[in-house]
Symmetry: D3
Subunit: 71 residues, 6 copies
């Protein structure tokens, strides 16, 4: 099954630079042109997707999850 | 009150380029070096923070909200 | 660009049965074998993805967003 | 205290089929008529609610947390 | 159906003091002993639950949604 | 960099009373005038912010993450 497009507006393409694996969840650093984006997903998903350092991925976030701070 | 630092790993500094205001929630486009980041926050917060096109902000996201897709 | 797979464990395939469009966000009912799944996404995404009643979609949710109640 | 009803539109009733317990968070698979729904909650909540394989639960998700992908 | 208990650690009991109703989502202020807690839920849920100013409710939040800032 | 204000409506000021540290995520109890608020953030953020029992913090939550239950 191939997904054509997802609704998520905020997408950051990059390469995995680090994985910290825990028993349930793992922390994954994605190196993108705009810096590191960090994602926490289940360790089972890391294995199902066969993610490893060097994998090409898109990190994405729903707009309703983005907060704003004023400088 | 001044906040020194927040726990959120994913922070994108930029300038507001567009605001679509709804009765309850508003959609805010933030122009960052890595492209547009879109945030949806309450219209009351837009007013409380006096956000407008041109305001300097940080968009931020908790790591647990970031999903990954494999290419 | 075609996405091969996403990390999200909870995926519900179905057909859009109703769209309530607001100025910023829209509510979309997806009819799945396990009943209606409701999603709220930006109205801009509804238009970008050209979603309409009858569109085939996958509704998906991060595991960290799923709560449990005991009966 | 008994809760009459919650606002969450997306509710999936089922039985716990697996628990992977971590030091802070646990992953819980709920077997529902529409397949497995996976939830990640704190291990303390697993213990407070006395959740175990076989427990009857409702998995629920806010509509704003549901994303859509087009096929 | 009566729910005995939910996994969510953060629960704030209070009374609805204000509802701002939008076409898709509504903003609801809950007056609690610890101040106002604001929730955004679908307008359909507001109607399904027959929420109104004065209704007694519990506002609740998953621990994974709570961020921290250092002072 | 000093943040002047964030959009998040729900803010709870308090003192950290307990930290349960996991390999990837940590659970942090914040003692506030209105009771304990529990937050789950990455263990790396706990270290970056030098959070410890006794640290003064603000726990905050986006309104779109707050659910309601009727009593």
């Amino acid at each position: 099954m191939s997904i054509k497009s997802i609704n998520v507006r905020n997408q950051f393409r990059g390469t995995i630079s680090e994985i910290i694996e825990g028993p349930v969840l793992s922390e994954i650093d994605v190196s993108t042109p705009s810096g590191i984006v960090t994602s926490v997903i289940t360790t089972r998903s890391v294995k199902d997707l066969e993610l490893a350092v060097g994998s090409e991925v898109i990190a994405f976030v729903k707009s309703t999850e983005v907060s704003l701070a004023k400088l």
